[in-house]
Amino acid sequence: MFLSMNWIGDFVDLSGLDKKALIKNFTLSTAEVEDIIVKGEDVSGVIVAKIASIEDHPNSKKLHLLKVDTGAGLIDVVCGAPNVRLGMKVALATVGGSVSGMKIAVAKVAGYDSYGMCCSEAELGISDDHSGLMEIFEDAPLGTDIKELYEIDDIIFEVDNKSLTNRPDLWGHYGIAREFATITGRELKAPTTHDVTPYSSLPAVEVSIKDPSLCYRYSAIKVENVTRKVSPVNMRIRLYYCGSRAINFLADLTNYVMLELGQPMHAFDNARVDKIEVQTFDKPFKFTTLDGVERNIDETMLMITSESEPVAIAGVMGGDASKIEDTTTSLLLESATFNGVSVRKTTTKLGLRTDASMRYEKMLDPELCRLATERVLKLITECDGGARVISSFTDSFVYHYPEIDLSFDKAYVDRYTGIDIPEEAIVKTLTGLGFGVKAEGGNFEVSVPSWRRTKDVTIKADIIEEISRIYGYDNFDISTSVSPLRPVRTETLKSYEDRMKDILVENYKLHEVHSYIWSDVKKDKELGIETPAGVKIINAETPDHQFIRISMIPTLLSFVKENRAYADNFGIFEIGHTVDGFKKENGYCNERKKLGAVLFSKTRSEEELFDTLADLAKEISANILHKEPTFREADVRFGFEHPANCFSVLLDGECVGFLSVPHPTVLASIDKKSAVAFLEIDTEAFAKTDKLPMSYAVPSKFPEIEIDLTFNADISAIRFDELKAAIKATAGELLSSVWVHDVYEAEDGSCSVTFRFAFVSPERTLTKQELSPLTEAIAAKLAELGLNMKI
């Protein structure tokens, strides 16, 4: 929104103050100023002059040779304007002056010297009209500087609309002026008005509100015999500077008052609209708005009708059929308050936001209706002596916002602000902003003004904002809080995930990536993966992104494919959120946080990659939980896993993830010649298992003895975790550890595995001889489990 300092000056005297500094303060106290534009700086040396003679230019059909009377003599000017007329008073840019940033000098135009330039409004920067010369009124004394006649000099600032979302009172110059008055401590002057009370005996306008929940107030008045067509120059300049365009006197008036008071107004041609109903319709229909566009109106949209004929979309835009034309002389003036939510919904559905609807959405103060009407009447009667009010001020005031009174004490303000704002300053600020204030001995009783209680100020914390923003946050003494010392809690899952990341990056040299929470159907298809049917996003921007991922692996596989030129060997991982269906108990999403890791290699075998990931799973379990995972053959769940090598990862017997390599078709679409393996761990399930405490045993003073035993075995069938448990149970306390020392595959395909057993006693040095019964028992136990010792 653009605001004019001249206009604000109508309501608060800011003379003697640095206006730009004030505008900057406005950012700190009220709302963000995005830009400051100084108007009129590039206009100088422009005076009132009169066309004293006109001759055709001998070399041009368009140009004329003028003699122009500046009041100090006649000068020659070459002019091309079509509306030049003998005796006309014009704005003459004299030699040495400037317009539109252009310096005026003596110039030769088609062979003739011109000692100045007659200007259009566009050239003066006060409108976009460049169709001809600006005509100055008859009585203007010759030689007068144009800036003495018109408000060409101004400072305009632009406020970010978003920062005014919660301040319906700031959508007009008057409300903004109230802020400036309070910030500067100067007096706010009320706008001049034309009282409607004397017309109460005139016939009323017939107004009927059929849907009172959507219309809080509807007031109307009729005026006839308005013959003025063009608005006063200063009014047009203000409209133009504030981003509006002058149309005709009546349309300009309603715009002007809206920009001034924030109250949207609508003028109907009284010849076509005489009665008013405010209602919704049972059935959808089409309606052409005054911009000539046909709109689809539905049952929820509030309409203004006249004798059941729709004439406007309430709060949004008038109809084409009843709009003010150049021939209109009588009008029915609407000043109303509509339900903001309803207006917002209507504009969203129609895709039509207007200056009026933007304001209604903010929940306007219904009290404004009468003030705005009286202000329009004041301007009409001032500018058009013949205009006559022909109805009473008809006012259907359906809904009054409740009065809000708040009480608090100085201690509350001190506690909330943390500083000591003097009682006088509090009273001055609140009074300046229009609050009713009773202060006594540090206790405050405050009544909220109508323009702040439509939603903005409802509780005492809101009052704190008013007091402190005007006091100025820059003026706050800042201080640390004083709170007792308390231990900091840490979230287990979060710390586990941090450890996982460290292990994956530092120990396994993996690269962390981030991907979207939704599956990418298109990319899955390229990989030969059928996208798992996850929970649906109902407003995804493309159907390809409509499913929330169940597994981390598919997106990681497509990253692997995209990066396959990056290096011969690499691995990537992500810890991210997935959703696996709905929870039975409440229908909510079963959201699971998962670690996905994928390895890629052009030089290592698939089995090596697989083993590395198995090792990685063991590493994070051992490192974080001090325990070992087990692996069990599992059925493929999604189809991108390899049916022969799909394993679930278990901790304490609970499945926490899976380890696999790609299905041959998936691998082929990634890179036939390379190897890929992947691991997924549900980090929440992982964190749910108990972390084992650090265990400590007094180290034996006696040496450890290692014994190797080799067995014939089918390697792929061995479940080492089960064997280990059996060995431990058989060997008893002397066995300190056992691990696979070597695996040997003979040329004939037969396999053998060598276990290395470490024995130690806390009491004595062990000998191989005394251990032989034990090793025999172990061999016998393993033979039971199908592993025969190799002799």
Binding site: Y473, R486, V488, V535, I537, H577, V579, Y588
Partner: protein, 340 residues
């Protein structure tokens, strides 16, 4: 006797001078000092000598001389051998540049950890929260009733069961208040989602970090102090902050916090649109309705909350120009973030 010793001494000196390795020295030692060596023989012949004392002293003197000279010669030989091995040692080259494999962290992880470290030192709990939330958590509990324009400001991804992808980390406020109660200091980094089209500056998926501090007597003055201290730590220099009124339904008063522009230091430049200030994070005193929804006694406790754009912070910190790089999975970009 004297003559015998002198003769032996002369031949010892000659042999010692000729010895060039430790084994020759050892042979010499055995020849002179061994059980059947020259000195032992001398001792044997003492029997026949009259002045046994003087002769014994003489033999002993010779024995000591032989021992010390052997020792000395052995030492010299070892020194020479070490010097020779040093001279002939292979020269290594540390500058040889073989390809090293290093993993990498996502820049968001690094930026988040940086900020988390700062908050840990200030006694903040680090919380984690879901990405799928419900209407209550994301709006209702944050004082954003149905039909409030604030819901229009954010385009929300809705799921088929009525839940939604969280549009702001504030969605965790309510749950965290309920989990810990007051007093409370917590930060909660998290991923947020807004249904908008993407370009170099806009993403539908991005990270924020929310923080809350609730206690008795927490004031606006505390908030400003805290934000200034925290941001000075984050940017590793003294930061000027400025508060402007800002409207967010879940705070009252609400602020937009600006810091002096990092590029120009406040002079005014294109990146701060010549204002000298950068809008950095929304913050404010937690709205009493929000505290109440979180089960916190609003008469006893006040608090502040703030939001920090982690994605934006990472962009500023690492000079990342295109926000889409974060979710690209492109290792050429991402593998550069080697370690903490």
């Amino acid at each position: 006797m004297k003559e015998r010793i002198e003769a032996l001494s002369a031949s010892f000196a000659e042999a010692l001078g000729a010895a060039s390795c430790e084994s020759e020295l050892e042979a010499l030692r055995i020849a002179y000092l061994g059980k059947k060596g020259h000195i032992a023989a001398l001792m044997q012949s003492l029997r026949d000598v009259a002045d046994k004392k003087a002769a014994g002293q003489m033999i002993n003197g010779f024995k000591c001389e032989v021992e010390s000279k052997l020792l000395e010669a052995g030492e010299a030989l070892r020194r020479a051998a070490i010097e020779a091995s040093i001279r002939s040692a292979k020269k290594y080259n540390p500058s040889l540049n073989k390809k090293r494999e290093l993993g990498s962290y996502h820049p968001i992880t690094l930026a988040t950890r940086d900020v988390e470290e700062i908050f840990k030192t200030m006694g903040f709990t680090i919380e984690d929260y879901a990405e799928v939330v419900d209407d209550y958590e994301c709006f209702e509990a944050l004082n954003i009733p149905k039909h409030h324009p604030a819901r229009d400001m954010q385009d929300t991804y809705y799921l088929e069961n009525g839940q939604l992808l969280k549009t702001q980390t504030s969605a965790a406020q309510n749950a965290i208040m309920k989990k810990y109660g007051a007093p409370l200091r917590a930060i909660f980094p998290g991923r947020c989602f807004r249904n908008e089209s993407t370009d170099a500056c806009h993403e539908n998926t991005f990270f924020q970090m929310e923080g809350m501090m609730i206690d008795e007597n927490i004031s606006i003055s505390n908030l400003i102090y805290f934000m200034k201290t925290m941001l000075s730590e984050v940017f590793k220099r003294d930061i000027k902050v400025r508060l402007r009124p800002g409207f967010f339904p879940f705070v009252e008063p609400g602020f937009e916090l600006d810091i002096n522009c990092l590029i120009c230091g406040g002079e005014g430049c294109p990146s701060c649109k010549n204002s000298g200030w950068l809008e950095l994070c929304p913050c404010g005193m937690i709205h009493p309705n929000v505290l109440r929804e979180g089960g916190i006694d609003t008469e006893k406790y006040t608090g502040f909350a703030f939001g920090l754009g982690l994605t934006r912070l990472a962009m500023m910190k690492y000079g990342i120009k295109d926000i889409r790089d974060f979710n690209s999975g492109d290792l050429k970009a991402l593998s550069q973030f080697k370690s903490n």
